[in-house]
């Protein structure tokens, strides 16, 4: 019989009230909050991330000797959900805080940790994910970009694509092929951390549907990286990447990307009552509340060193559908609809969320891939 996922929720989290108060105070006084943004973890604002880092809200769970604050994974959860709910422009540090930093902490050498983590925690060092390639999307193990050991370091050749904020970040954590073994594709992969200003690395912008420059194509032509650019173990890249995924897939950014538009809708409905507004809000909130419980349960488990990948896939599957349905329902039921240029907060946020909504079920693993993972955990494959 299939093993049910493990979600145990709590009613109260008294230990989290302090940190919630702290981050709300911080946001209330921050100039960036004059203009809340939808999909705010895709809104890049280095100055905001610097202020957030200096206030101690980046790398919160890491040891103090690496610039962290040794707070719990649930305390970090509270901070990031408050950032999203407020629409704070959190993209600059998001990947480094969520993913790259924890990978370095887990698999990196002492030297790598000391060199990189404190700068991330200060909100001064930003990272990109170098997984996708022109011919490698969902089938991640098919990556072809090669890193060869040459002399004292690595020589990298190949292409990465959809690399978010590579043009504004400091490092890209690459998944590269370091040895060829056609029979076992998942072997011979390694994670290599490359500074984005390395000679031989060309960054070409790709403009997204919203008209902004968020992601890029990266061309590597004999890019030289030092020996200690390798993170973790040579050949263990696949296992390392997989262990990233529970962090990547279970967080509140998987269901709150469009929440600010719903909040603005409620503000509007309170000013000008509209038929159906209550039902619309109720039907979305009754989906959000359990999702949030599930996500918090995962955050708690991650803090205990468990990797709840099945649970994370369930959250991302439901979460991306939810955040898309928020814009779907608002566009379908509310007149007048979205307007990116509007001075009206609701119309502007809905426009921002609606344009970006198609990406919600693609980035971080597509809906179909996630369903495949869930099916495997159900024992169907």
């Amino acid at each position: 019989m299939m093993k049910p996922p493990n979600f145990s929720v709590r009613m109260e989290y008294p230990e989290l009230e302090r940190v919630r108060h702290e981050i709300r105070e911080f946001l209330a006084g921050d100039p960036a909050m004059a203009t809340p943004r939808a999909d705010s973890w895709s809104q890049f604002d280095p100055a905001f991330s610097g202020r957030l880092g200096r206030a101690g809200f980046i790398g919160m769970t890491w040891p103090k000797r690496y610039g962290g604050a040794e707070r719990s994974s649930l305390e970090r959860y509270v901070v990031i959900e408050e950032l999203l709910a407020a629409g704070a422009p959190a993209a600059a540090h998001w990947i480094a805080d969520r993913q790259t930093g924890p990978q370095i902490l887990r698999f990196g050498s002492e030297d790598q940790r000391e060199r990189i983590l404190p700068a991330i925690a200060r909100g001064e060092c930003f990272c990109s994910i170098g997984m996708s390639e022109p011919d490698t999307g969902s089938d991640l193990a098919s990556v072809r970009t090669r890193a060869e050991r040459k002399g004292d370091g690595w020589t990298i050749n190949g292409r990465k694509i959809w690399t978010s904020y590579a043009h504004q970040s400091h490092y890209v954590l690459m998944l590269c092929r370091t040895s060829e073994n056609a029979a076992a594709r998942h072997q011979g992969l390694s994670q290599i951390l490359v500074p984005l200003d390395t000679p031989g690395l060309t960054i070409r912008p790709i403009i997204n549907i919203a008209g902004t420059h968020d992601f890029n194509e990266l061309l590597f032509e004999d890019v030289q990286a030092p020996a200690d650019a390798l993170i973790g173990t040579e050949g263990a890249g696949w296992a390392q990447v997989i262990s990233e995924l529970a962090f990547e897939r279970s967080g509140p950014e998987r269901f709150l990307s469009s929440f600010v538009a719903l909040e603005a809708f409620a503000e509007m409905a309170r000013r000008e009552p509209a038929a159906g507004a209550a039902a619309l809000i109720g039907s979305l909130i009754s989906r959000l509340a359990p999702l949030r419980g599930m996500s918090m349960s995962i955050a708690e488990q991650l803090g205990q060193g468990v990797s709840p990948n099945f649970e994370a896939a369930l959250v991302k599957e439901m979460g991306s559908l939810f955040e898309q349905d928020v814009t779907e329902r608002l566009l379908g039921e509310v007149v007048p609809a979205a307007d990116p240029e509007s001075s009206d907060k609701f119309k502007r946020l809905l426009a921002e969320a609606a344009l970006r909504a198609p990406s919600f079920s693609i980035r971080g693993g597509t809906r179909e891939i996630l369903r495949g993972i869930i099916a495997r955990d159900l024992g169907l494959r």
């Binding site: 929720v9 039902a279 109720g282 369903r371 869930i374």
Partner: protein, 341 residues
Amino acid sequence: MSDIGMIEDTARRTIADGLTTQALDASEQGAWAGALWERLENQGLTRPAAIAEGGAGEGLEIEAAVLRAAAGAALPLPLAETAIASWMLGQHGLDVPTGPLTVASFAPHETLTVEADRVSGRLEGVAWGRNAAAIVAVASGNLVLLDRESAAISVGANLASEPRDTLVFSKAPPLAIGGTADAEALLCRCAAVRALQLAEAAGRVLEIAVEYAGQRKQFGKPIGGFQAIQHQLATAASEVASARVAAQQAYLALAARRNIFFACAIAKARANDAAGAVARIGHQVHGAIGFTREYPLHRYTRRIQSWRGEYGASAYWNRRLGELMLGAKERSLWSIVVSGI
């Protein structure tokens, strides 16, 4: 295993031992599964609060464990209704009579009044009304315990052939009258229970469908090997998970005596929709066999389709939830999601 886990396990085994296909079928024809009720009663499983007094955990936690087992087996007995009724009586300091009990609650049907210590009025859709020794309801703002014998009963049933009877009282002397009671609190309590039952029934549908998909072969392989089937079942799994969490959240709110309306409204709306989606997928995966009386899927899907409406369909709860949130003009939606209301 935790105490709670052990209780759930005991309940599952007791039910499995006593619940044959014949017993299920007889029950659908209106027979009372008295022998099984007695076994459950002897094990103490009909009175979760009494187990709690023995120190095995919180009453509501024990109740949830027993009701999970019951809903997961489509048990045709008023275990849930008895649990709610005895909990309500306990809250009001009233004695809990022996035997099966039931509750009557859904605002539109409430017409009970008390006058000179006599109760009159009409209750519709009372679960297991004909079988219950006594009925808990709210009349003129007070909790009342009514004797089934004092009611004129016309029998009815839901889609799963579970008794849903109409009880008419005229100047009936109640077995007990408690203090003031909030009809809404009773409705929330009932909604939380149905939400839990819906989540478990949906969980069972998922289990049956996954098992079937692994066995049934077409085009030379198990149908579970087809991606279209896999993805439907993956969707069902996420629906089940969120319905279970929503029900858990409602029980936590009941135990904490805070946020009760908010959590119960969410739980019932979520469980209604999730279970509906899972029932549809469960049938699709089964093909024609799932459409038969012989195959057990219908025990769960017929209950799901009935329970979705009982104690409030999704439209009802979503609208009320939204009205409550919009009405709290000084608060953001977010602060309500985080801290409740």
